[in-house]
């Protein structure tokens, strides 16, 4: 790289949390601003999409893209940024695996819209038009981007060089990535900015994990008080720490709450939910068919829990294209 590295940050269907993970670098952010050339960052700087189009192909050294791919215009935008960038980084859980937004894939886009814009109890216009439809969407107005048939993670649309997992990624990790880029090193293809081992390995409660855990009924958070020092699984509470990549500083555990898997699976696991199923099935106490049914009944919404952050990236969706 000649001169300061050129950076872009963009959000698709995100929440702004990944932006915050950059703001939360606090004073270090000033350093980043001084040592780089940030050409596009809607959350913090005044630049337009047209400014990006004006750039030469590959002029951006590293583009950080957060948010899931939900609308057709996200596809165009990330393709544009791919074209303009040497290195594309999936920034945060949504870009990485679709995130919570991906739960939308349990429903059709028609269902999603109708629920929000027609069936909501506070809706004045239950029969009213859906956004982008109806009389007053004339040529005088800018067309409203449409929903894709399903939410997709970034790498289903464009090549992605590196992933920064986490909802949101820890600011320290962001700082580490920027430092590396400022030092003139772009992440190698396939880089994941997190631990290679699952969270269990760095969990403060790991020593309380017994040799064998058998659960005959899973408890729900409102069912019970739990020991704030002992492995959640050992207390019949579902924790996805064994399935989830470490690197989050066990922040939920430190708040005495079980892991929900926002860092995604380890490299060897193609499907987070499958890993979660393998784990939970392994904990189920021996019994007969009916015992197992009862046990599974005690897990509320297993699909939503196991795929909390990764439904859009599930191998079941491999066939999907925008």
């Amino acid at each position: 790289m000649a001169g300061p590295p050129t950076i872009a940050l963009y959000w698709c269907a995100g929440c702004g949390g990944c932006e915050e993970s950059v703001f939360d670098m606090a004073e270090q952010l000033i350093g980043v601003y001084e040592k780089t050339r940030i050409v596009f960052w809607p959350a913090a700087l005044d630049a337009r999409s047209s400014d990006v189009e004006a750039l030469a192909d590959g002029e951006i050294d590293a583009a950080f893209i957060n948010g899931a791919i939900r609308l057709d215009e996200h596809v165009q935008m990330v393709r544009l940024l791919r074209k303009k960038s040497k290195c594309l980084i999936a920034h945060g859980t949504c870009a990485h695996m679709g995130g919570v937004i991906g739960l939308g894939n349990f429903f059709s886009s028609k269902q999603l819209l109708a629920c929000a814009y027609q069936h909501a109890p506070s809706m004045a216009t239950p029969k009213g038009p859906l956004p982008g439809q109806g009389a007053d969407t004339g040529t005088t107005r800018h067309p409203l981007p449409g929903l894709l048939p399903a939410v997709l993670p970034l790498d289903r649309i464009v090549d992605v060089e590196a992933v920064i997992p986490g909802c949101p990624p820890p600011p320290e990790t962001m700082a580490q990535v920027f430092d590396q880029i400022i030092a003139g090193v772009l992440p190698a293809k396939g880089t994941v900015y997190a631990h290679q081992k699952a969270l269990c390995h760095s969990c403060p409660r790991r020593d309380t994990r017994p040799e064998r855990i058998t659960v005959s009924r899973f408890k729900r958070l409102q069912d019970t008080l739990w020991d704030p020092t002992v492995c959640f699984l050992a207390q019949d509470l579902i924790c996805l720490g064994p399935v989830t990549r470490g690197g989050c500083n066990a922040r939920c555990i430190s708040a005495n709450m079980p892991c929900r898997g926002c860092f995604g699976p380890t490299t060897a696991m193609d499907d987070f939910g499958a890993g979660a199923m393998a784990l939970i099935a392994a904990l189920m106490a021996d019994g007969d068919e009916t015992d197992y049914e009862a046990l599974i009944e005690s897990i509320p919404d297993p699909a939503g829990l196991f795929y909390r952050y990764s439904l859009a990236a599930s191998i079941l969706g491999k066939g999907r294209r925008p």
Partner: protein, 138 residues
Amino acid sequence: MKSLDLKIIALLCHWCAYDSADAAGRSRQDVPPQIREVHVRCSGQVDPAMVLKAFAAGADGVMVLGCKPGDCHYRTGNHQALKRMRLLQQVMAATPIHPQRLRLDWVSAGEGDRYARLAQEMVSQVKALGPVDAKGGM
């Protein structure tokens, strides 16, 4: 889509199920051509990812066969399979892949006729559901 184009993966354990498929051959049973046998060590080796990948790769059904309860040559393998497959089916219920596209059953080495019958049942079960939506599941 012709039902013949349906494809069903049969994951067969080393000790009983795979032999039962061989026995079906030796006794010249009718095994529907949609069935595609795969040799695994034990039904307890079958993990949810393996099944999901089969569906993602275009299977319309997956049949996991192991030794009969109590007969597992690895003692608890078929029990683990039972736990996993039931949990997986519960999750599949929330997806477009119908839980009945996955079947777990037991057969012992000699039972070629039973293997053939299970295979035929599986095929008609999947026929009833039709092919998996080409767009894939989630």
